[in-house]
Protein backbone atom coordinates (compact mmCIF):
# COMPACT_ATOMS: atom_id res chain seq x y z
CA UNK A 1 0.00 0.00 0.00
CA UNK A 2 0.92 3.65 -0.16
CA UNK A 3 3.41 4.94 2.36
CA UNK A 4 3.70 8.36 3.93
CA UNK A 5 3.87 11.06 1.30
CA UNK A 6 5.13 14.60 1.67
CA UNK A 7 4.84 17.57 -0.62
CA UNK A 8 6.65 19.42 -1.92
CA UNK A 9 9.81 17.34 -2.04
CA UNK A 10 11.86 20.53 -2.27
CA UNK A 11 11.02 24.09 -1.37
CA UNK A 12 13.21 27.13 -1.88
CA UNK A 13 12.02 30.36 -0.33
CA UNK A 14 13.36 33.73 0.68
CA UNK A 15 13.95 34.85 4.19
CA UNK A 16 10.79 36.30 5.72
CA UNK A 17 8.37 34.33 3.55
CA UNK A 18 5.67 31.94 4.70
CA UNK A 19 5.76 28.23 3.79
CA UNK A 20 3.46 25.27 4.18
CA UNK A 21 4.64 21.68 4.15
CA UNK A 22 2.15 18.88 3.71
CA UNK A 23 2.13 15.33 5.05
CA UNK A 24 -0.22 12.57 3.96
CA UNK A 25 0.09 9.68 6.43
CA UNK A 26 -0.63 6.03 5.84
CA UNK A 27 -4.38 5.49 5.70
CA UNK A 28 -5.81 4.59 9.09
CA UNK A 29 -2.80 5.74 11.09
CA UNK A 30 -3.98 7.82 14.03
CA UNK A 31 -0.60 9.08 15.22
CA UNK A 32 1.38 11.59 13.19
CA UNK A 33 4.78 13.08 14.00
CA UNK A 34 6.83 15.88 12.53
CA UNK A 35 10.61 15.85 12.83
CA UNK A 36 13.29 18.17 11.50
CA UNK A 37 16.69 16.98 10.32
CA UNK A 38 19.47 19.49 9.95
CA UNK A 39 22.56 18.71 7.92
CA UNK A 40 24.75 16.09 9.56
CA UNK A 41 22.35 15.49 12.42
CA UNK A 42 19.63 13.05 13.31
CA UNK A 43 15.93 13.91 13.14
CA UNK A 44 14.61 16.06 16.00
CA UNK A 45 11.06 15.86 17.24
CA UNK A 46 8.80 18.84 16.56
CA UNK A 47 5.17 17.91 17.20
CA UNK A 48 2.91 14.91 17.64
CA UNK A 49 -0.76 14.52 16.72
CA UNK A 50 -3.13 11.95 18.09
CA UNK A 51 -6.11 12.21 15.80
CA UNK A 52 -6.90 15.86 15.15
CA UNK A 53 -5.30 17.30 18.26
CA UNK A 54 -1.69 18.18 18.91
CA UNK A 55 -0.86 15.98 21.88
CA UNK A 56 2.61 17.43 22.25
CA UNK A 57 4.11 20.45 20.50
CA UNK A 58 7.05 20.90 22.84
CA UNK A 59 9.57 20.38 20.04
CA UNK A 60 8.45 23.37 17.99
CA UNK A 61 11.39 25.82 18.18
CA UNK A 62 9.31 29.01 18.46
CA UNK A 63 5.94 30.52 17.68
CA UNK A 64 6.78 30.92 13.99
CA UNK A 65 6.09 27.21 13.67
CA UNK A 66 2.58 25.81 13.73
CA UNK A 67 0.97 22.59 12.55
CA UNK A 68 -2.58 21.41 12.01
CA UNK A 69 -4.37 18.18 11.28
CA UNK A 70 -8.01 19.26 10.97
CA UNK A 71 -9.55 15.97 9.88
CA UNK A 72 -7.19 13.58 11.58
CA UNK A 73 -5.43 12.59 8.38
CA UNK A 74 -3.41 15.09 6.35
CA UNK A 75 -1.23 17.46 8.35
CA UNK A 76 0.29 20.78 7.39
CA UNK A 77 3.37 22.30 9.01
CA UNK A 78 3.36 26.06 8.69
CA UNK A 79 6.39 28.29 9.11
CA UNK A 80 5.99 32.06 9.25
CA UNK A 81 8.70 34.64 8.61
CA UNK A 82 11.20 31.98 7.59
CA UNK A 83 14.82 32.35 8.62
CA UNK A 84 17.95 30.85 7.10
CA UNK A 85 18.29 28.64 10.17
CA UNK A 86 15.00 26.96 9.27
CA UNK A 87 16.73 25.28 6.32
CA UNK A 88 16.51 21.54 6.92
CA UNK A 89 14.70 18.39 5.85
CA UNK A 90 11.28 18.19 7.46
CA UNK A 91 10.19 14.61 8.01
CA UNK A 92 6.74 13.34 8.74
CA UNK A 93 6.01 9.94 10.27
CA UNK A 94 2.85 8.07 11.13
CA UNK A 95 2.01 5.05 13.20
CA UNK A 96 -1.12 2.98 13.59
CA UNK A 97 -1.52 3.39 17.33
CA UNK A 98 0.32 5.99 19.40
CA UNK A 99 2.44 5.21 22.44
CA UNK A 100 2.41 1.44 22.10
CA UNK A 101 5.76 0.69 20.50
CA UNK A 102 4.18 0.98 17.11
CA UNK A 103 6.65 1.41 14.29
CA UNK A 104 6.84 4.93 12.92
CA UNK A 105 6.83 5.02 9.13
CA UNK A 106 8.60 8.01 7.67
CA UNK A 107 7.94 9.92 4.51
CA UNK A 108 10.75 11.03 2.19
CA UNK A 109 10.78 14.50 3.69
CA UNK A 110 10.58 18.04 2.37
CA UNK A 111 13.91 19.72 1.87
CA UNK A 112 13.48 23.38 2.77
CA UNK A 113 16.06 25.94 1.77
CA UNK A 114 15.68 29.50 3.00
CA UNK A 115 17.83 31.98 1.07
Amino acid sequence: GAGVSQTPSNKVTEKGKYVELRCDPISGHTALYWYRQSLGQGPEFLIYFQGTGAADDSGLPNDRFFAVRPEGSVSTLKIQRTERGDSAVYLCASSLIPGLRETQYFGPGTRLLVL
Partner: protein, 116 residues
Amino acid sequence: DQQVKQNSPSLSVQEGRISILNCDYTNSMFDYFLWYKKYPAEGPTFLISISSIKDKNEDGRFTVFLNKSAKHLSLHIVPSQPGDSAVYFCAASAVGYHNAGNMLTFGGGTRLMVKP
Protein backbone atom coordinates in the same frame (compact mmCIF):
# COMPACT_ATOMS: atom_id res chain seq x y z
CA ASP B 1 22.53 18.16 25.44
CA GLN B 2 22.48 15.12 23.19
CA GLN B 3 20.70 12.28 24.90
CA VAL B 4 21.53 9.77 22.17
CA LYS B 5 24.98 9.77 20.62
CA GLN B 6 26.60 7.94 17.76
CA ASN B 7 30.25 8.79 18.06
CA SER B 8 31.38 7.34 14.75
CA PRO B 9 30.19 9.47 11.84
CA SER B 10 31.30 6.86 9.33
CA LEU B 11 32.33 3.23 9.05
CA SER B 12 33.84 1.34 6.13
CA VAL B 13 33.61 -2.45 5.96
CA GLN B 14 34.47 -5.09 3.39
CA GLU B 15 31.62 -7.10 1.91
CA GLY B 16 31.02 -10.32 3.85
CA ARG B 17 32.55 -8.98 7.06
CA ILE B 18 30.75 -7.85 10.19
CA SER B 19 29.60 -4.25 10.60
CA ILE B 20 29.25 -2.98 14.15
CA LEU B 21 27.52 0.33 14.75
CA ASN B 22 27.51 1.80 18.23
CA CYS B 23 25.17 4.08 20.13
CA ASP B 24 25.28 5.55 23.64
CA TYR B 25 22.51 7.21 25.58
CA THR B 26 22.36 9.25 28.77
CA ASN B 27 18.68 9.27 29.74
CA SER B 28 17.99 6.34 32.05
CA MET B 29 14.26 6.65 31.37
CA PHE B 30 14.69 5.36 27.84
CA ASP B 31 13.27 1.87 27.69
CA TYR B 32 12.87 1.14 24.00
CA PHE B 33 15.53 1.42 21.33
CA LEU B 34 15.39 1.30 17.57
CA TRP B 35 17.65 1.36 14.58
CA TYR B 36 16.62 3.11 11.40
CA LYS B 37 18.34 2.98 8.04
CA LYS B 38 18.29 5.89 5.63
CA TYR B 39 19.16 6.05 1.96
CA PRO B 40 19.70 9.44 0.27
CA ALA B 41 16.50 11.32 -0.60
CA GLU B 42 14.40 8.82 1.32
CA GLY B 43 12.94 8.83 4.80
CA PRO B 44 14.36 6.64 7.57
CA THR B 45 13.21 3.01 7.42
CA PHE B 46 12.72 0.96 10.56
CA LEU B 47 15.23 -1.86 10.86
CA ILE B 48 15.11 -3.49 14.27
CA SER B 49 14.20 -2.66 17.86
CA ILE B 50 14.84 -3.85 21.38
CA SER B 51 13.04 -3.39 24.66
CA SER B 52 15.01 -2.68 27.81
CA ILE B 53 13.90 -5.99 29.31
CA LYS B 54 16.04 -7.78 26.73
CA ASP B 55 19.74 -7.66 25.99
CA LYS B 56 19.63 -9.03 22.47
CA ASN B 57 17.25 -9.12 19.52
CA GLU B 58 18.01 -10.81 16.25
CA ASP B 59 16.38 -10.52 12.84
CA GLY B 60 18.17 -12.26 10.01
CA ARG B 61 21.53 -10.61 9.41
CA PHE B 62 20.79 -7.89 11.97
CA THR B 63 21.30 -8.19 15.71
CA VAL B 64 20.93 -5.45 18.28
CA PHE B 65 22.64 -5.73 21.65
CA LEU B 66 21.69 -3.64 24.68
CA ASN B 67 23.89 -3.05 27.72
CA LYS B 68 21.70 -1.13 30.15
CA SER B 69 24.34 -0.66 32.81
CA ALA B 70 26.64 0.96 30.26
CA LYS B 71 23.77 2.76 28.50
CA HIS B 72 25.10 1.38 25.26
CA LEU B 73 23.63 -0.44 22.32
CA SER B 74 25.09 -1.77 19.12
CA LEU B 75 23.87 -3.04 15.79
CA HIS B 76 25.67 -5.97 14.19
CA ILE B 77 25.24 -6.76 10.52
CA VAL B 78 26.58 -10.12 9.43
CA PRO B 79 27.48 -10.63 6.66
CA SER B 80 27.60 -7.07 5.38
CA GLN B 81 26.43 -6.47 1.83
CA PRO B 82 26.97 -3.49 -0.51
CA GLY B 83 23.22 -2.78 -0.33
CA ASP B 84 23.62 -2.14 3.38
CA SER B 85 25.50 1.06 2.56
CA ALA B 86 23.38 3.81 4.10
CA VAL B 87 23.16 6.07 7.12
CA TYR B 88 22.09 4.27 10.28
CA PHE B 89 20.33 6.10 13.07
CA CYS B 90 19.94 4.89 16.60
CA ALA B 91 16.76 6.11 18.34
CA ALA B 92 15.27 5.80 21.79
CA SER B 93 11.90 6.33 23.42
CA ALA B 94 10.32 6.07 26.84
CA VAL B 95 6.68 5.31 27.55
CA GLY B 96 5.37 7.87 29.97
CA TYR B 97 8.47 10.05 29.82
CA HIS B 98 6.89 12.55 27.54
CA ASN B 99 3.37 13.35 26.44
CA ALA B 100 4.33 12.18 23.01
CA GLY B 101 4.05 8.50 23.78
CA ASN B 102 6.36 7.10 21.18
CA MET B 103 8.36 10.24 20.46
CA LEU B 104 11.77 9.20 19.19
CA THR B 105 15.08 10.77 20.18
CA PHE B 106 17.66 10.14 17.48
CA GLY B 107 21.41 9.97 17.41
CA GLY B 108 23.38 11.84 14.77
CA GLY B 109 23.79 8.82 12.50
CA THR B 110 26.65 6.68 11.20
CA ARG B 111 27.32 6.38 7.50
CA LEU B 112 28.12 2.77 6.65
CA MET B 113 29.98 1.98 3.45
CA VAL B 114 30.25 -1.67 2.48
CA LYS B 115 32.89 -2.21 -0.17
CA PRO B 116 32.51 -5.03 -2.71
